[in-house]
Symmetry: D2
């Protein structure tokens, strides 16, 4: 994904930040650990369908997501698709 | 739990219906199977904390809950407490 | 699915029972509610991938599964595929 | 928790490593993302009961756990109890 393509994709992905061209990250704080876990399970279900999985870090009520296409070492259309799906779950 | 006590408890538990004095039931339809599952996981977490577990039936996007105190064969204060907690998750 | 086809499929699906030609059912008792819920989440993930969902009933440490193709009102190849996947999770 | 106490506790907690006295960590690789998620949900249920929550990192089929008592800035009896419970789930 070229840098202009990445910037254009990010413009329609509120909450996500690019780590250079290497990954997309988003952090979300929920009202409770329970709410965070409900979200994590839904992300896992969506990730299985897309066959593309985020790195997830759960710290009590806060979930850190990191998307990267490990095979290419950068951000690809698969990461954008997963980020969009995750935003649907959050918004 | 006497019938007047049960009726009083139900008055503050929107969505729940008494099956005579034997059980409390609530059915909730979500926007998707994913949303239903996120809820089910949160119910399971709350149930472990209260050490009291609902019967759960999941039919795609719809969850049927049934609360009963199996040892006494009726509705007790433990069911009311769990129903209140579940309503917090739903509302 | 014809009855001979269904019987042949069942022969390779230990644990499943046919409700006439209408549905397949399997009941599994786990060591705890926690173990039952871990299984239910994995079933939900597999079901999303196959885009075909079992009816699930969770009674503490026991999970009842019922597979049916609602659109055709009977058992189809989609139910067999999901049953196989669920058996992989159980065995 | 004194260093001798911590060392003694670790001796009965296979898989866990001390980060100095600041935290306990354990990493476990599962056969699939699905199996990893089933485990994570069970950890979340146990953590709610103990009212003490690990930091969790999920990278596809691998789960990294980190236990620390944030209020005291070190490892306490609560971390040991949670580590024991997690080992019961893993073993």
């Amino acid at each position: 994904m070229t840098e202009p393509e990445l910037l254009e994709a990010l413009a329609s992905l509120p909450g996500w930040v690019a780590e250079g061209g290497a990954a997309l990250t988003r952090t979300h704080k929920f009202a409770s650990h329970s709410e965070a876990m409900g979200f994590v399970v839904r992300v896992a279900m969506a990730a299985e369908v897309l066959d593309h999985h985020p790195d997830l870090r759960i710290v009590y009520d806060t979930v850190h997501l990191r998307l990267s296409s490990h095979d290419t070492g950068g951000v690809t259309a698969r990461d954008i698709r997963l980020a969009r799906k995750i935003n649907e779950l959050l918004d």
